[in-house]
C-alpha cells in the first residue's frame, strides 16, 4: 500500500535519512525502531510531507504523494504524536472533530462520528465530549489524540512515539488498545518508537534504523533469527533473544496434537508466558485450550525450548 522509494533527506551537509526503500503492506502494523536521532521521525514525516524529501518518492496505493497539495494529503492520513498535541482551547469533541470539519462534513455526521470514537476509546461521550484536554489524565489525553487521528476514517495512521509520555502500566494498556483499534477499524499503521520491546510487542513488521539507514526490515522473528547486520542483533539484545523469540508465537500456533495431563493454558498466551507458567508449577506439559474452552492440543517444555532456537 505504501511504497517508499530511495527516500533521502539532507539538512545542509547532514544526511539524516539515507536512501530508504520499503514496501508497507495494507493492514499491517509496521514499527520503525532505532536509537534517538536515527532519522525515524524524519522518515515518518516524509510520508505525510511534513518534511519534503531531498530525493526519492512515496507512493500511496500507487499514486505519488506529490500529486496533491500537502494539507489535502494529510487530511487522508491520520497522525498521532508523542505528547498528543491536543488543542488546549478546544473541547475533546472539538478536537476529535478537527479533520471531519476540515473535510466539510455536516454537523450530524460529525457528532455521530465523535460519539462512536469516544465509545471505541472507552471515554463516555456524555462525560468527556465537553471537557478540555487539561481536565483529562495523561492516558485519556493520549486516547483522544489517537481518536482525533482516526476521526475521518483514514486508511493509514502514522504514529510518532505515541506512548512515549505514558508511564509503564498505562503504556501497556494503550498498546493493547491500539491492537484492538487496529482490528476494529482495519487501519494500516506505521509507528515510530525507540523502545525495542514496544516494537516486538506491536509490530508485525519491524524496520530497524541507524544513522539514517534502514538496517533491516521484516517480520520480528526474522530480526532475531537472521539479523542482517551485527548492529541489529546488538539492538534487539543478544542476552534475551531466545525469550523474545518465544514471545512472538502463541500457544495456539505451537500446539502439538493430542492431549496430556497438566495445567490448562490459553491458546492466545505467548510461548514465553507458557514456559514461565510451566517452570513456576514445576511440570513439563500443559493442555492448550481456546477462549471457548475447546481443546487445541498440548505443549511440552522441550517443544517450547525448540521454538526458542533460530
Amino acid at each position: 500500500m505504501i511504497t517508499i522509494e530511495n527516500l533521502t533527506k539532507c539538512y545542509g551537509a547532514a544526511t539524516v535519512v539515507d536512501g530508504v526503500s520499503m514496501q508497507i503492506p495494507r493492514n499491517s502494523l509496521t514499527v520503525i525502531v532505532g536509537t534517538s536521532g536515527s532519522g525515524k521521525s524524519t522518515l515518518l514525516r516524509m510520508v505525510n510531507r511534513l518534511v519534503e524529501p531531498t530525493s526519492g518518492r512515496v507512493l500511496l496505493d500507487g499514486s505519488d504523494t506529490r500529486a496533491q497539495p500537502p494539507h489535502l494529503l494529510r487530511r487522508r492520513i491520520g497522525y498521532a504524536i508523542q505528547g498528543h498535541g491536543l488543542f488546549p482551547h478546544r473541547t475533546v469533541a472539538e478536537n476529535i472533530a478537527t479533520v471531519p470539519r476540515l473535510l466539510g462534513w455536516d454537523a450530524a455526521r460529525i457528532a455521530a462520528r465523535v460519539s462512536e470514537l469516544l465509545e471505541a476509546f472507552a471515554l463516555e461521550p456524555a462525560a468527556f465530549a465537553g471537557q478540555f484536554p487539561h481536565q483529562l489524565s495523561g492516558g485519556q489525553q493520549q486516547r483522544v489524540g489517537v481518536a482525533r487521528a482516526l476521526a475521518a476514517g483514514p486508511q493509514l495512521l502514522l504514529m510518532d512515539e505515541p506512548f512515549g509520555a505514558l508511564d509503564p502500566i498505562i503504556r501497556a494498556k494503550a498498546q493493547d488498545d491500539l491492537l484492538d483499534i487496529r482490528r476494529r477499524f482495519g487501519t494500516t499503521i506505521v509507528l515510530v518508537t525507540h523502545d525495542m520491546d514496544e516494537a516486538f510487542r506491536l509490530g508485525d513488521h519491524v524496520a530497524v534504523m541507524s544513522g539514517g539507514r534502514m538496517l533491516q526490515y521484516g517480520p520480528p522473528a526474522e530480526l532475531l533469527t537472521r539479523p542482517a547486520d551485527p548492529l541489529v542483533s546488538r539492538m534487539t539484545g543478544l542476552a534475551d533473544r531466545a525469550m523474545r523469540l518465544l514471545s512472538l508465537s502463541t500457544a495456539g500456533e505451537a500446539a502439538l496434537p493430542g492431549t496430556v495431563d497438566g495445567p490448562e493454558v490459553a491458546a492466545s498466551a505467548t510461548l514465553r508466558d507458557v514456559l514461565s507458567e510451566l517452570m513456576w508449577r514445576g511440570v513439563d506439559a500443559a493442555r492448550v485450550t481456546d477462549a471457548n474452552g475447546t481443546a487445541r492440543g498440548h505443549l511440552t517444555v522441550a517443544a517450547i525450548l525448540a521454538r526458542g532456537r533460530p
Partner: protein, 248 residues
C-alpha cells in the same frame, strides 16, 4: 449569579461616580470650590465635560484600533517563515514609536497634516504599537510545538492553523497588550489639546492658563478614572472570552 468581588464593587462605584460627574458636573461644584480663588468658576465652563471625555475616548479607540491592526499584523508577518527577515526592522520601527515622545511626534506631524485630530491620532498610534507588537510576538512564539505540529499534521493549511490555533492561543497575551496600550493612550491623549484636538487636555490647559487648580484636577481625575475603568473592564472581557488554558 456570580458575586462580584471587592474590585468589582469598587469599579462599579468609580463608574457611577464618573458618569454622574460628567452628566451633572455642577452638582459637584461645592467639592471643587475650595480649590478656586477670587470667585473663579469651580467647574469647567468653556465646554461640555461629557463631550470632551467622549471625544478623547473616541480618539484613543481609533488610534488603538489602528495600532492593533498594524502591530498584530506585523507580529503575524514576522512569525511566518516567509516574514522572519522583517523581524529586526519591525522591532526597530515599533521601538522608535515608543521612544519618540508623543509631544515630539505632534511637533513633527503638525506641519505635515495640520492641527486637530490627525496629529494626535498619529502620535497615539505610534506610541501604542510596542506593547501590542511584543505581546503578539510572545503569544505566537510560545504556542506549544506539539500543538502546531498536530495542527499541520491534521491537514490545516498555514492560514487555517493561524486562525484556528495560533491566534486563539495567543489571544490572551494580545488582548493584554491592547489593554496596556489603551490605558497608556488615554493618559497620553490629553496632550492632543495642545494641537487643538478635542479632549480633556483642554480642561487641564485652561486650568493652567487661569491658575485654576479645580480645572486641572477635574481634567486629571476624569482621565484617570477612564483609564482605570477601561483597564478593569477589558480584563473582565478577556476572562470571559478566553477559555484558553495553556497546559504546557
Amino acid at each position: 449569579m456570580r458575586v462580584p468581588g471587592v474590585a468589582g464593587v469598587a469599579r462599579a462605584a468609580a463608574f457611577v461616580l464618573l458618569v454622574a460627574f460628567l452628566i451633572w458636573p455642577q452638582r459637584f461644584a461645592p467639592l471643587f470650590a475650595p480649590l478656586t480663588q477670587y470667585g473663579a468658576p469651580p467647574i469647567y465652563d468653556q465646554g461640555n465635560l461629557l463631550t470632551l471625555a467622549l471625544a478623547q475616548l473616541g480618539t484613543v479607540c481609533c488610534a488603538a484600533l489602528a495600532s492593533t491592526v498594524v502591530a498584530v499584523g506585523l507580529g503575524i508577518l514576522v512569525t511566518r517563515p516567509s516574514g522572519a527577515e522583517f523581524l529586526p526592522l519591525s522591532r526597530t520601527l515599533v521601538n522608535i514609536g515608543q521612544t519618540f515622545p508623543p509631544v515630539a511626534v505632534l511637533a513633527v506631524a503638525v506641519p505635515l497634516v495640520g492641527f486637530g485630530l490627525k496629529p494626535t491620532l498619529i502620535a497615539l498610534f505610534a506610541y501604542g504599537l510596542l506593547p501590542i507588537f511584543e505581546n503578539t510576538l510572545v503569544g505566537l512564539r510560545t504556542c506549544p510545538p506539539a500543538v502546531l505540529e498536530a495542527a499541520s499534521g491534521m491537514g490545516m493549511s498555514a492560514r487555517q492553523r493561524l486562525m484556528s490555533v495560533e491566534l486563539p492561543l495567543a489571544m490572551p497575551l494580545i488582548l493584554e497588550g491592547i489593554r496596556v496600550s489603551l490605558v497608556i493612550s488615554v493618559g497620553t491623549a490629553t496632550i492632543g489639546s495642545t494641537v487643538a484636538a478635542k479632549g480633556l487636555g483642554e480642561v487641564i490647559i485652561a486650568g493652567l492658563l487661569s491658575n485654576n487648580s479645580a480645572f486641572i484636577l477635574q481634567g486629571a481625575l476624569v482621565t484617570g478614572l477612564m483609564a482605570v475603568l477601561l483597564y478593569g473592564s477589558l480584563a473582565g472581557l478577556e476572562r470571559r472570552f478566553c477559555r484558553t488554558v495553556r497546559t504546557d
